[in-house]
Subunit: 232 residues, 2 copies
């Protein structure tokens, strides 16, 4: 079972309150005193000074704590798709975007996120930091995404994705369950998956400028989609 | 009048098609041949090789062109607020967030963006890159934001902002004109401006987890607000 790095006081606090197993906590004595529960949970604890933490840290402004946390083993049952809205990530490359997408999903109560094998590792330290704690609440699974989407469509699950030629998202009926596919930053949703999407949507631009903007950032598009699905 | 740096083929192409004055264009002969219009517009042109462009570039993957472009002088009339929706940025610190906010505004046809004196410089190279061309279409002004908001409120302009204790944005009447205030990444909207906001909104969380997420990234909140104001 893999582990991942969690840094910064707030994120380490999130790790402590979460159901995740902490393998090792490195922190200052002040931090340990402020969180007495860490002494009672069998966590391996190293008390040291801020300077030593800085040396081990990837952050520009290291803080008083870092932790090595076990990666969870999340299962995924297709039954979930009949009741819940899930995100499917088709080759998201940028760790900041992925972390932000986890944070959006968490906000909108979307628990399950299915990642293509090509999507950046959700336990990459930059993803973890950008998720602002969402990494401890949403459940991610890596899968062969085209097969997963194909099986879902065959089971009658609605699969949504945004495309330039899609239907106006603001005017469509949107299901309370199913899959929203988010595509790559540069290339959008890949061809094999595009062909499987059952409901093609577009977030219309309201620009009246002669040079139209071409696209929205994928995390921004994710936010607008989640907002539209949930508000109804 | 100040200038700013524009990098990468796509962004330099946006600069060329825009109404902005290019002071200097540094590019490969291939790029110049693909854009013959640059020879006829009095732009100072330096043709060189990719290696020399790389040396002058701030990008991790430099391309075939960079340009020095004049900053526009944008005026701002308060009459605009009676007809249009504008954004007011109250101490946005992160260049990536600011660039993304410009891109969202551009997408949703919001032309005027008023920045506090504390907000990161819109012509910072990271802002310019993250804007993906929106910097050439939206109009930004720097102002004493508390005075600006105060005057607007006194003129009867609705001023919206998101707060934890606000009214559910999905259920509120939203005006087609007025001001949406976006606050600092860590601290939200500053106290002096909070006191002036006429319509306090919240983007409700749909999380059912026992540890609730605390907040959304400011650019994500901006996207959801713009989407809600525009879709109606």
């Amino acid at each position: 079972m893999g582990v991942f790095l969690v840094e910064g006081n707030k994120m380490v606090e999130e790790a402590i309150r979460s159901s995740f197993k902490i393998e090792l906590l490195v922190c200052t004595s002040d931090f340990a005193n402020q969180h007495p529960e860490v002494n009672n949970t069998g966590i391996e604890l190293i008390i040291t000074d801020s300077e030593s933490i800085s040396k081990a840290s990837l952050l520009q402004n290291p803080q008083d704590a870092l932790a090595i946390v076990c990666q969870p083993k999340n299962g995924f049952s297709e039954l979930i798709l009949e009741k819940e809205l899930c995100l499917a990530l088709d080759f998201i490359q940028d760790p900041g975007n992925l972390g932000t997408i986890l944070r959006i999903a968490d906000w909108y109560g979307i628990i399950h996120i299915v990642c293509s094998e090509t999507t950046v590792d959700v336990f990459n330290p930059k993803v973890v930091q950008a998720s602002m704690g969402a990494i401890f609440r949403v459940k991610t699974t890596i899968t062969d995404l085209p097969s997963f989407i194909k099986n879902s469509v065959e089971s009658g699950i609605p699969v949504y994705g945004t495309f330039l030629e899609g239907q106006n998202i603001y005017k469509q009926l949107l299901s309370p369950s199913g899959i929203i596919v988010l595509g790559n930053e540069g290339n959008g949703i890949s061809d094999p998956i595009s062909q499987l999407v059952t409901n093609k949507l577009v977030i219309p631009s309201f620009s009246t400028h002669k040079n139209k903007p071409e696209s929205l950032n994928v995390a921004i598009a994710a936010a607008i989609c989640c907002s539209e699905f949930r508000r109804r």
